[in-house]
Each structure stands twice: as C-alpha cells, then as structure tokens.
C-alpha cells in the first residue's frame, strides 16, 4: 500500500505539478515546433514516452552498477551516448518488426536524441536518488505530462490560427504568450498531490 501510494505520488507529481514542459522548461523545442496539429503532437509525445522509459531503464542500471563505483564523472557523456545508441537501436528494431509503428513514430525518433527532456529525466532520476521502480514511474509520468501539455497546446494553437494577431506578434511571440497562459493554468495543480494523499 505504502509502495503504491509512493508510486502514485511520483506519477501524479510528474504529470501535473512538475510538468516537464510547463514548469520545468524541458523539451520546449518540440513543444513549440510539433504542436501545430493534434495527430503529430500525439505521435511525437508517444515517441517521447517510449524513449523516456527505455532510456531510464537503460541508464539507471548502467549508472548505479557501472559508473557509480569509479566513473561517476562520466555521467553526462555516458548518458547522451546511451540515449543516442538506444534511439538508433529502437528505430532499427521497430522498422524490422513493427513497420506500422515505425511509420507513425519514425520521423520523430532521431529528433528525440537531442531532446533535452529525455536526457533531463534520466539525470533527474539520478539526482533525486530514485530507485529503479521509482525512476521508471517518474519517466512514465514525465512522458505523460509532456503528452498532456502537447495535446492541450495543440488545441490552443488551432484556435490561434483563426485569431487576428498584430503583425509583430505573429508566429512565435503569440505562441509563447499562449504557452504562458497554459502554464498559468497548470500552476493551479500545485499542492494537489499532497492534498489527495492527506
């Protein structure tokens, strides 16, 4: 029971309170770049969830059993290489065995290597001293939070298309201002997780 409560707290905090995009500012590039259409936003976030969980499953044991004893300082170099290799591997395997999924997610996979949210979640799991299970849940929550933000924002942006925006505000500025309002609404979630489990 205690374990389930702990896991649920981590999951909900990662999705709502510490949303990766809207409160931690990780993964802003895909958030602004791929959120124009709902279906591409969904595909991109599905790929991110997948890679985040896989990357955590790969980096956590490697850090704790290989790097920590002697080579803790290699963390950044090792993690980015693991993520890059993993993304390549996943792409090859997916192309061979699940071509339908590869067609849906394929173009987003290489993009994810340099997505700071993925490296971010693996480094955060180490910094927060999470166990293996907690790390996986945190990665899943971070990915789901990313998806929630992307989907909500895709909706906001489809409304923005029809809006009459002053010339100098067209494009990125109005998108960022809209992101500010979405982020403001997410601040309403602060404290909700503590409240649920009181």
């Amino acid at each position: 029971m205690e374990l389930a409560k702990n896991m649920l707290t981590i999951l909900l905090s990662a999705i709502l309170v510490d949303n990766f995009v809207l409160s931690k500012f990780l993964g802003i590039c895909p958030f602004l770049g791929v959120s124009k259409k709902l279906d591409s936003a969904l595909a991109m976030s599905a790929a991110v969830i997948f890679v985040m969980v896989m990357a955590t499953a790969a980096t956590w044991p490697i850090y704790h059993y290989l790097l920590l004893p002697n080579y803790g300082y290699m963390q950044t170099v090792a993690f980015i290489l693991i993520i890059a290799a993993l993304v390549q591997l996943v792409e090859v395997v997916m192309k061979r065995f699940v071509p339908a999924l590869h067609r849906a997610l394929g173009v987003y996979l290489p993009l994810i290597t340099t997505n700071c949210a993925v490296l971010g979640v693996t480094v955060l799991n180490i910094d927060e001293a999470y166990g293996f299970g907690e790390s996986l849940v945190n990665a899943l929550g971070a990915g789901l939070g990313f998806m929630l933000a992307m989907v909500l924002f895709a909706g906001v942006r489809s409304r923005l298309e029809a809006a009459d925006v002053p010339e100098s505000y067209q494009g990125l500025p109005i998108t960022l201002t809209a992101a500010a309002i979405v982020s403001l609404s997410f601040m309403g979630f602060s404290g909700i997780v503590e409240g649920i489990f009181k």
Binding site: K36, Y108, T114, S168, Q170, P173, T177
Partner: protein, 229 residues
C-alpha cells in the same frame, strides 16, 4: 552562412547581434526560459555555454579533417559532453551557489541546439580562428539575451538585480514573472519587440524548424509531411 568570406570581427559581431542565437535564430530556448529567474544565474549559464561553445568549436574545427562525415554527429556530441563535464566541475569547485541553482541545466548544455548547431553550421567548415570568433560572438549573444531577459524578470518579479535591492521596497514585486508563466510571457514579448524593430519579416520558423540541426536530426522527414513549418 551566405557570405563565405567574412572577417573574424564580422563573424564575432554577427553572432552578437544580427544572428543572435536566442532572439533571432530562436535556439536553446529551454535553458533560456529556465535559468533567467535571476541575473546572476543567467550570467553563470551564459558564461558556461560560451566556454563550452568555445572549446567545442575550436576542437571540432581542428578535427574537421579527421572526423568521418557519417559519424560526425556522435563525435560532436562526445566532444561537447566532455567540455560540459569540465565546465560543471569547474563551477562545482569554485562557484557552488551557481552550480546548485543551475542544477540539471548544466548537464543539459550537452543537448543545447546552439552548440551542436554551430558545430554543424560553422566549425566543421571554417578555420580555427574564425570558429573561435564565432563561438565568442554566439556565446556573448546568448549571454546578452539571457541578461536582458533575467534583468526584466528579476527586477519586476523580485525587485532586485544580481541580488542587489532595487525596487523591492517601493513597488510590490510581481512574483509571477519569476515563475514559469512569466518566463514564457517575457520571452514572447522580447521576440515581438525584436520583430517590431527589425527590418525582416517576423520569424516564421518555430522551434525545431528553426534549428540548424533539423536536417541532421531527422527533421527532413517531417518537412515531407508538411509539418513543423
């Protein structure tokens, strides 16, 4: 780079103003939003990025004949990650406060679009001296943009600048500017101001589409689908 033969000084000034990485090219937005809550944080971040950029640009332009073209991106990433490790150890040893407040965004310099972008766009086809000038120009352009943004957010949001009390006693600080929504809002405002006063049309490129790495990181596949315009 349209102009092939720019003097080193021009290269330096180019990064500082005309192709400012943040306000014109819109690269490296994550650390830009996250570390501009106070001016001293922003200054630390800007200088760290400049140092990493200088190191990686110089090494990559030295090795441009050695690195095979097909595996250049992994090579660049390893070089960049090594410099990031060096810089974060230096900060940890001598500037612990800044090291702690930058936190996760120090290792994340590795995946900063600006650094990989400059390696791909500039350092692998130019001389060492020109690459160093480009790194300094781009780095200082980034630092300058960080300082402008963080000054706005810290003065209005906290009433201080670099920790010095300015208006905190006179006007009630608007704490929202220090939080996440304020970051997005001030960034949008800054780009709108740049658009207003620059002769060019408003930047149509958003996020990954504006990233010079787009072709290398699989963005070409997206362009075919007509997304991410």
């Amino acid at each position: 780079m349209a102009e092939k033969k720019m003097s080193n000084l021009q290269v330096l000034l180019n990064g500082l103003i005309r192709e400012n990485p943040i306000l014109v090219l819109v690269l490296g937005t994550c650390p830009f939003l996250a570390t501009t809550t106070t001016a001293s944080n922003a200054f630390g971040m800007g200088l760290s990025v400049t140092a990493v950029l200088l190191g990686s640009n110089v090494v990559i332009s030295l090795l441009k004949k050695v690195i095979p073209n097909t595996v250049r991106i992994p090579c660049y990433i390893v070089i960049i990650a090594s410099f990031v490790t060096v810089v974060s150890f230096v900060l940890e040893a001598y500037q612990r406060d800044i090291f702690q407040s930058l936190g996760i965004f120090l290792p994340l310099i590795t995946v900063n679009c600006i650094i990989l972008g400059r390696a791909e766009m500039f350092a692998n086809k130019n001389t060492v001296a020109a690459s160093a000038c480009d790194a300094i120009g781009m780095g200082l352009g980034f630092t300058g943009a960080l300082l402008v943004m963080s000054s706005i957010r810290e003065i209005i949001g906290n009433g201080t600048w670099m920790g010095i009390n300015l208006t905190a006693d006179l006007i009630e600080p608007m704490a929202i500017l220090k939080m996440a929504p304020g970051g997005f809002f001030v960034f949008g405002l800054l780009i709108a101001i740049v658009n207003k006063f620059s002769s060019k049309k408003p930047a149509k490129k958003v996020g990954c589409a504006g990233c010079p790495m787009a072709s290398a990181c699989g963005h070409e596949g997206e362009k075919k689908e007509g997304e991410c315009k």
